[in-house]
């Protein structure tokens, strides 16, 4: 929500004031907020929140470790599985690194409190150490994995596989069938399509 809300506000403002239309609600200088823009903004923001909610639900219900093992079990490339899993794990690691760098910069006199502009300005000296540090870590991990035959082609015998109950399998099939039914309903006109 902390990321989605500011993004949604920005997207909504741009959408409201840039979408052409005949029903002008408010005029601020050369910018016109139209009813059509408001309608468009509502759709975009709704999609944004639905996407964010889906990703959040995925992150909260799926352990990266189980996800990676399951991808490998299904014969996906270990590199692809690791890349996906690492992506899931990267966000908290980058946040932790950013906090460390921020604390170090504060100790050296960087102001990170105050108004919006001051906070934005305080991000600049954090970006370099966080990005470079993360890249170094990725490189070290990549080399360490190479030394452990990570790139070897061929099947692997996994030590464990995530528990996959009959209920979970049934739920997955129902979701797939539901998605197919919605797609079919839209294509034959029984359900409204996306504008």
């Amino acid at each position: 929500m902390a990321v989605t809300l500011p993004l949604a506000v920005a997207v909504a403002l741009v959408s409201i004031f840039t979408q052409p239309g005949g029903n002008v609600l408010v005029q601020i200088g050369p910018l016109e907020a139209t009813l059509e823009g408001l309608d468009f903004a509502a759709q975009v923001v709704l999609r944004l929140f639905v996407t964010a909610a889906a990703l959040t639900l995925f992150g909260m219900t799926t352990a990266p470790r189980a996800f990676i093992v399951d991808l490998e079990r299904r014969r996906f490339s270990p590199r692809l599985a690791f890349a996906v899993g690492a992506l899931l794990e990267t966000v908290p690691l980058v946040i932790a690194r950013a906090r460390t760098v921020r604390d170090a910069q504060r100790a050296r006199g960087l102001y990170t409190e105050g108004g919006f502009l001051r906070r934005v300005a305080a991000i600049v000296p954090l970006v370099g150490p966080v990005v470079i540090g993360s890249l170094h870590q990725v490189e070290a991990r990549s080399l360490a994995l190479d030394a452990r035959a990570f790139g070897r082609p061929g099947p692997r015998h996994m030590l464990w596989v995530p528990h996959d109950s009959a209920f979970e399998r049934l739920a997955r099939w129902l979701l797939i069938l539901g998605l197919a039914a919605i797609a079919a309903g839209v294509s034959v006109g029984l359900l409204p399509g996306l504008p």
Partner: protein
Amino acid sequence: MLELRSVAYRYPGYRRPALDGIDLTVRDGEIVGIVGPNEAGKSTLCLVASVLAPASIGGELTGDVLLDGMSVRGQRPHEIAGRVGIVFGSPTSQLSGITGTVLEEVALGPVNLGLSVAATVARSRAALEALGIESLAERAPDRLSGGQTQLVAIAAMLAMGSRHLVLDEPTAELDPEGRQLVGDALGGLAGSGTAVLIAEQDLGLLSSICTRLVAIDGGRLVFDLPIADGLRDRRLVDLGVARQAVPA
């Protein structure tokens, strides 16, 4: 036995070699320490000795790297994995980050080699036992101390079956207790016949475990001496590695 013969190495995009004219042999059961100032080429030497340079990071290698007398030039990382292992200085960044227990973390390499589950578990437990950390098997890797994490990283290499081990400043982020743990573990490994090459700033640690000391500077060998002679050599002071030479 790990051998480097007339090795020169240049990183991709660089004209100047990071290593030049390196001849070095680490026999089975021997621990050879590498010292040198910053930018001397210690880490590069470790990468070349472990064949990750150029196999994984690119660049140009001349000369030859041999494991037990056989050249490994031109081989890919997964073809070398299991014959030579490398441990880096940062304990946390070399763990996979995708395993739930120490046993799984150590087992990742054998799993990648395609071993059966029984063989993977046997190798992993044997590696943990060899380092005296079998009690950590069910612990979460991200809940270990720095010294324990470094031992897990070493165990992960042993589980691959590596009889040649290269370590790049393995105690750089460890407290004295962690250094002691790693030092004891390396002594035990050498005792069982593993050839160990270790780049390290801590002369005290090197003096307690190494049989030979190698100094490099500017990518070139400065000396290769028995440990006692190396620690007494004035050139250590000139290189800024020691404040004063050990008295004869």
